[in-house]
Subunit: 322 residues, 2 copies
């Protein structure tokens, strides 16, 4: 019985040694007008076995279903701004969660207007939800910690758009050290000690011998950082906030030939997104929020890559592991 | 110039001789829970070159885009009931119509609660729409004429569901007679007379000879009738209302093995839909609003066909011509 439990614990901790630190699933990366290929904005970040949704455009629940994305570990949704293509999928999805008898709390972090404009609909469609639905107002104009638990901190990133808008910075906290399974077996260390060892403690055997933590563990993964910045014009004030993140998703609604239109609509070009990535020295850039006019997005990718080589195009259904 | 205009008129009237009387495009035929294959309910009926939308579930504008369905001739939307899978696509679509600079009025016929619950969202997202958006309250409990123009009458069909719900009966009015182009050419009939001839008048030549209307025209198409009935339990009271229609869309959420569940949720089985079709002596039945549990819908089709042979399955993107 003890052996079996220990096995489970070890397997679980091996899962902690996961091959990726952050997993980002793009559900939609289109902009306001729907297209054949792109649903509006929504994505799911997975970090230490928890899921965080960012934006929830119309059809998000449909796309999740098409892709077979499960949301059993989704507890929090972060809404960047109140344009329809970033939140109109919320009510349908919440209603479906109710029908599927979800019981875990669901938290929505968004501009305070969201609760007001959705309440009549929610009160009409989602009576007697079997879970607690809670709105948390955010001020998009501030760079502020808006959520924290034992594994992650989430900050708002003030952006500039036609309506109040902010990005989100997910900063993983320093994780636990990884145990070396064969050493745990060798010293027959009881399961009750594992957690302290993961936290850095040495182990003292029954004979009184001290086994140094370095023998029993390897260092924790470096904390993962992800920044989501959409919708926004080119905005250098975000650079210090997102400095050096592992992954940056930045909107790139237009190509350079539409730079005037980008200025008018307070969006970015792909080249501008890449400039931000370069100046912020991020490790990787994903561009998205494509205007409906770009059926072929290679022009956007090429223009970004000229400035920042490690750029990839977002794509509905694409998964990025870091 | 006259010849050219006449040509245009004749071409147009030949379009009047269209190969179909009614065209029904299924945009979505799923039920409340999204599935890989089915969007929630929405369809477009085309009758005498006008489009009427029935229901507008989440993602309707996305599906229209995927299918390349244009809505330039869409003026009226009819909402059967206020469950989310029948109307949550409205706000996004209206917002998109605004961005695309639509100018034609848009009329929505629905339970009066719809305007109330959507207003905060519409007032927030759809300020300064370049077209007039008008809600027309309907009483789902009545069988009543709710819209009429020169070519069609639309009636509500009281249904029974968990919330107030109604179907819609579209009754085409008797159309104009079709001119025989070769006879018009032969008698050199001026364009100014064509419309009266289509309405049944004889033609008197300059020499005073009377040309009987039967020589110049063929009879008009028989008026087309379409009935949409979803969501509802098995309800015989609708039979006299939909008697003999060309096309009946009836919900068939469940197979007979789930008859108890159908009763509990106040839905119909495929067999019940077929029974209604048979008793109402309709010409053709389309079943839809499939529960998410049926990946393969052949069981529903087979159970319906046992009772009413001329049954077809709805399918997202399928077009029915009558």
């Amino acid at each position: 019985m003890t052996i079996s439990s220990q096995k489970i614990t070890l397997t679980h901790s091996l899962q902690g040694n996961r091959r990726y630190r952050g997993k980002l699933t793009i559900l939609g990366c289109g902009s306001a007008l729907p297209t054949k290929n792109n649903f509006p904005t929504s994505q799911i970040l997975e970090l230490r076995d928890k899921q965080y949704m960012i934006d929830c455009g119309e059809g998000t629940q449909i796309k999740m279903n098409q892709l077979g994305v499960k949301t059993t570990r989704l507890g929090r949704i972060f809404i960047s701004h109140l344009h329809g293509d970033h939140f109109l999928g919320l009510v349908g999805m919440i209603s479906t969660f109710g029908m599927l008898k979800r019981t875990a709390d669901l938290h929505i972090h968004a501009h305070p207007d969201l609760e007001r404009i959705l309440s009549p609909l929610l009160n009409y469609l989602c009576v007697d939800l079997p879970f607690k639905l809670e709105f948390h107002p955010i001020n998009p104009a501030e760079n502020k910690l808006i959520f924290e638990d034992k594994s992650v901190e989430v900050y708002t990133i003030p952006l500039r758009h036609r309506v109040p808008a902010c990005g989100f910075l997910f900063k993983e906290k320093q994780g636990l050290r990884h145990i070396k399974r064969e050493m745990i077996d060798f010293y027959e260390i009881p399961i009750s000690k594992i957690n302290r060892i993961k936290q850095g403690d040495d182990y003292i055997t029954q004979a009184g011998e001290t086994i140094s933590n370095e023998i029993l563990t390897t260092p924790p993964n470096p904390p993962f950082q992800y920044a989501f910045c959409s919708d926004t014009c080119y905005l250098e004030s975000i650079i210090p906030i997102i400095k050096g993140v592992d992954l940056l998703y930045h909107e790139a609604t237009f190509a350079e030939s539409e730079a005037v239109r980008a200025r008018q609509t307070i969006h970015s070009t792909a080249r501008q997104a890449a400039l931000i990535a370069k100046k912020a020295e991020v490790k990787k850039l994903i561009i998205g929020h494509f205007s409906a006019r770009y059926n072929d997005k290679s022009i956007l990718l090429n223009e970004a890559k000229e400035v920042f080589e490690n750029t990839e195009l977002a794509e509905d259904g694409k998964v990025f592991y870091t």
